[in-house]
Symmetry: C2
Subunit: 196 residues, 2 copies
């Protein structure tokens, strides 16, 4: 086993803020899943004793909740704010569906949290809010395109289902997806089907 070097700390005096723990927790989730968020391993990584963790957080669950709030914001409001500058709702939808191809750290976090949402109440709650906000926004795009509410809701569901399915396949069964150019062509076809 190779040891990670201690992380850089935010404060100049070498002391930690809660945000340092939260960032480290999200990295651990992306790298090793929810089980990777351990008080002792994170303490080692941050170069302090685990006792110090309990000054910042009540327990492991409190750290998780704080870290999840960061992820939630990054994966809903911040994305919606970014895409808001695009005028045509058709282009907004295309951009959102295609963003599955970016494959950032947040998708790995998504997959890790998806499984945990079935059993962990804190994760379940955050995950439900994220799903709801995304569906709501997708629906609003389809409404802008002139679809009546009921139809728009179905279109949003179709798009979101395909998006979620693709995220999972990319991370868990990449061999079943076409590579490079063929994947781009596949995305084109998918976008055509999902954006009227």
């Amino acid at each position: 086993m190779v040891q990670d070097p201690p992380m850089k700390r935010a404060a100049a005096d070498g002391r930690l803020a809660a945000a340092d723990w939260e960032r480290a927790a999200l990295e651990a989730i992306a790298d090793q899943g929810l089980a990777g968020v351990g008080v002792e391993p994170l303490s080692r990584r941050l170069g302090v004793t685990k006792g110090s963790f309990y000054w910042h957080f009540a327990d492991r669950d409190a750290l998780l909740a704080a870290a999840l709030r960061r992820w939630e914001d990054a994966r809903t409001e911040r994305i919606i704010a970014t895409v808001a500058s695009v005028g045509d709702p058709r282009d907004r939808l295309r951009w959102l569906i295609r963003s599955v191809a970016i494959g950032g750290i947040e998708d790995r976090i998504h997959v890790a949290l998806a499984a945990a949402a079935m059993h962990h109440p804190v994760v379940r709650e955050v995950f439900a809010r994220v799903s709801h906000r995304r569906m709501e926004y997708l629906e609003s795009c389809y409404v802008e395109l002139g679809e009546p509410a009921r139809v728009a809701r179905r279109s949003a569901l179709l798009a979101y289902t395909a998006y979620i399915g693709l995220i999972h396949l990319r991370l868990e069964a990449p061999d079943e997806l076409p590579g490079d150019k063929a994947f781009a062509a596949y995305l084109d076809q998918l976008v055509e089907r999902l954006v009227p």
Copy 2:
């Protein structure tokens, strides 16, 4: 915390076989995720000391590997054998896509394993085989329908992506899915889109 009663054992003499541990492991995965497969908790549940576990398996990973082999068979060959009796490949595809609505224990296991596949080599390997076998079979159905190989492969991917997306939404964000009758209508629409 409520304690589970000790499980019934397979052998009459009260001694355990490896299969007893494997079944208990799959139930634990469905109930609590991969982290639920613990040597000590399972031992308690089966009514033996954890020392006895190590007579049957080399370690926790060996139990996992054996349990996964059971899941793999249940979710590939046994399903394919069941659907093989249906003559029309169109009906086979419809049945497979609609099976997402059944919502058995195996879907919960799927979601738990999906996240673990990113990090755990044993799970990754099983998951890759399952995904490959399913894609291969879907593709063969579309080929039977007269689609050329390249098109059939895309059709299979479209169907499998939607299937995986729906499994996840049903288990992780059920509030975003229409209820009962509306869900049946949604599945109709999805099947229409995916089966030519």
